[in-house]
Amino acid sequence: MDFNFTSDLVGFWNLFVVVIVAVSVIGCGVFLWVQGSAKFKPGEVTGHVWDETLEEYSNPLPNWWRWMFYITVVFAIVYLALYPGLGNNRGMFGWTMRGQYDEEMKAAEAKYGPIFNKFLQQDVMTVAADPEAREMGQRLFVTYCAQCHGSDAGGGPGFPNLKDNDWLWGGTPEKIKETITNGRMGVMTPKGTKPDMDAEQVKDVVAYVRSLSGLSHDSARAQRGAELYPQACAACHGPDAKGNPEAGYPNLTDKVWLYGSREETMIETVTKGRQNQMPAFGEFLGPAKVHLLTAYVWGLGGGVKPAPAAPQQAEAAPAAATSGEAAPAEQK
């Protein structure tokens, strides 16, 4: 259709492919044509011998078979005109793998979209209570989240447990949706805000932090660590070490440890720092699936009820859900 000579035919390897394909197809046609008028004596042997005595005789093939051969040649020419195959030529249909993928995705979206979208109208807690939505949410979770958080959502070293009520970035529906949509970056700088700490001081700080959550520790070290803590850690984890979910700083006084509670692990964490990333799924999954996943994760048991502090705003929950939905749309 839009055959562009300069871009479609130029280039050695392109021409190489074009010539091989064209010569093969036309060659087959010419060969058939020549064979059609070739003559031989019936009962003549071709000279091919197998297994000592098995010889091939020249026996004529029925004409209809020859026409089938011609049909294959015509098929090849038609195919190469319509579809890519002749070097860079895109074919009249402009077919591409990518295009077919997009088309199939569009068809799937048209078919399954309404099933997902109907939950978009409901707030997260209603969806979380719906058994059908939970089942769909679980399937989505196993597909998109289980690789890191485990199929039971229990997490693993470096990947948070989603079933408990400890939330690095907050466990309300809005916060969970925000996390899934935009992803999160968790950063612990090496040696916190006191980069001049030596190895012994690091051990002291670790001992102090261990004491906060009731882990075994050397109390002399812990005492020294308590003095270092305000300079080294308090800026992020807070003077009371309860963390700050607004910025994703973990609570150091509970029993939940993202990288494990062994002393060596904690020393490594403080010495080298940590970098952690949750990828953004908003664009990839679309608002409806994110909504279902939010409800599923929220409903796993550790979810925090949204905004109970404002009783006069009884209608706040649906409003919050609406603003949450709008967020991915605004991004586009």
């Binding site: 029925p62 890191c148 997490g155 693993g156």
Partner: protein, 472 residues
């Protein structure tokens, strides 16, 4: 009339030069009656009653025989096959292949002559043709006649009847994959899905084309079996043979004349054996790859022998050795039992018993244990080590079941989560489970543990499945 066109072909002078392609000579086989023709009709009825009847048989609230590809369940009477049972299909194919080897080694192309769909449908289509257009001479005449009202009427009737029959064949085929009663209403209310429509008409068209139009061309040029069956033959294989010694020199003579007195053999050269041959060969030229073993020539020749008052069997089922060594029936039968036949039979018996054993012992429950790969092992409160598994529980039976799950294999091993689960009949469900082990139970590395899934109330339905537990 006694000089059919086919004969010229065989006697072509060696100097003749031909092209690599030849146009088809239409064959008008003359119909035969006799022992072997009766056998063929028995097999036509048998195979077609099964083919057209099977999908209509009900079973409980479903079709007795249904290959439900969409839901990946094959229903065969009381048996439900899942994709996991696909090896049964492989075994059935192996059994078919060995049966073919066995039958071929014993008596040549029995499959081709009596039960091959190409033969069976050609037989049916030729019967329709004979009913409408008449016997061989009438058909030859009709073919040569110019198109007029009568010819047009006969042709329309013939092709119409063929098309109707072919459509029924295609419809039945789809009825094996879609419930046939629903398909029937769907068809008449014009509600067929695109694939159903395609397969009904595609299979119908192919039946029409192969059985009505192509006929012997399929056997001669398309069928691979025609090409390799020769390797299954040996000198003790029963084949259809013309008794040259008894028949030659052939020639016409009056009825009741003793052939020896005129210096001739028993063959009166009537050409019946050539006229009745559906592949258009002359069996008197010896065994040829075109011969599908239908025995029409035997029936035709026997009839002529009876009329002439000669003994039957100028053309008969016999073996190469029997011809050479003048064996009787007894010796032929004695040579049926030979190493090749014994080996084929033993292998066939072994595989058939294997299939029966396999189907009889088909489990009612299947369990796949899939360890979470992303999360290798995690530490939980109390210092326990936890691994996560997904159990895919397939209730292969047609009743709902409650299953109880236990784990074993390491000291202090325990299962977290609801140990009882319910699965509806013929469904698969997935469940996540955490398994916890005290850190001192095993050294670092991977360890084998076992999941036991047992149906409540029926201890026989149980699966003992191996899994791996990782210690960090």
């Amino acid at each position: 009339m006694n000089q059919p066109a086919e004969k010229n072909n065989a006697a072509a002078p060696a100097e003749e030069v031909v092209t690599l392609y030849k146009s088809r000579k239409k064959i008008h086989p003359r119909s035969v009656t006799g022992r072997f023709a009766n056998w063929r009709w028995v097999f036509v009825w048998l195979t077609q009653l099964i083919y057209y009847g099977l999908p209509w048989i009900p079973w409980d609230d479903r079709q007795a025989f249904l290959l439900d590809i969409v839901n990946r369940k094959f229903y065969i009477f009381g048996l439900v096959l899942w994709p996991q049972d696909v090896f049964f299909l492989a075994i059935i194919l192996i059994i078919s292949a060995y049966s073919l080897f066995l039958f071929t080694a014993v008596a040549g192309r029995l499959w081709c002559g009596y039960t091959c769909p190409q033969t069976v449908y050609t037989e049916i289509f030729m019967w329709i043709e004979k009913m409408i257009e008449g016997e061989r001479p009438a058909r030859i005449k009709l073919d040569q006649a110019p198109m007029d009202a009568r010819k047009f009427r006969l042709r329309a009737l013939k092709y119409g009847s063929w098309a109707l029959f072919a459509w029924w064949t295609g419809f039945t085929l789809v009825g094996y994959f879609t419930p046939i009663r629903e398909l029937w209403t769907e068809f008449w209310t014009w509600n067929l899905g695109p694939w159903e429509t395609f397969w009904i008409f595609f299979y119908g068209f192919m039946t029409f084309l192969f059985a009505g139009i192509m006929r012997e061309q399929v056997c001669l040029y398309m069928c691979p079996y025609a090409r390799f069956q020769s390797v299954m033959f040996d000198p003790d294989t029963l084949v259809i043979t013309y008794d040259v010694e008894r028949g030659e020199p052939r020639g016409a003579r009056r009825k009741g004349v003793d052939p020896k007195s005129v210096g001739k053999g028993d063959c009166i050269d009537c050409g019946i054996c050539v006229q009745v041959c559906p592949t258009g060969i002359d069996i008197r030229n010896g065994l040829q790859y075109e011969c599908i073993g239908c025995a029409a020539c035997i029936d035709g020749c026997d009839e002529v022998m009876d009329k002439m008052g000669y003994p039957r069997g100028l053309i008969r089922y016999t073996t190469e050795h029997a011809m050479e060594r003048h064996w009787g029936k007894k010796e032929i039968l004695r040579h049926v039992v030979r190493p090749r036949i014994i080996v084929y039979t033993l292998i066939l018996l072994a595989i058939v018993s294997g299939l029966i054993w396999g189907i009889a012992n088909k489990p009612d429950l299947r369990v796949n244990v899939i360890r979470d790969r992303g999360v290798l092992a995690r530490e939980v409160e109390g210092g326990l080590v936890e691994n996560i598994y997904r159990l895919q529980v397939m209730n292969v039976s047609e009743q709902p079941h409650r299953y109880r799950i236990t784990v074993s294999g390491l000291d202090g091993i325990q299962l977290e989560g609801e140990p009882v689960l319910e699965v509806e009949p013929a469904t698969t469900k997935s469940f996540s489970y955490a398994v916890r082990v005290p850190p001192e139970a095993a050294p670092k590395g991977s360890h084998t543990i076992y999941f036991d899934v047992k149906a409540e109330g029926n201890e026989k339905i149980a699966v003992h499945e191996k899994a791996t537990f990782l210690m960090p």
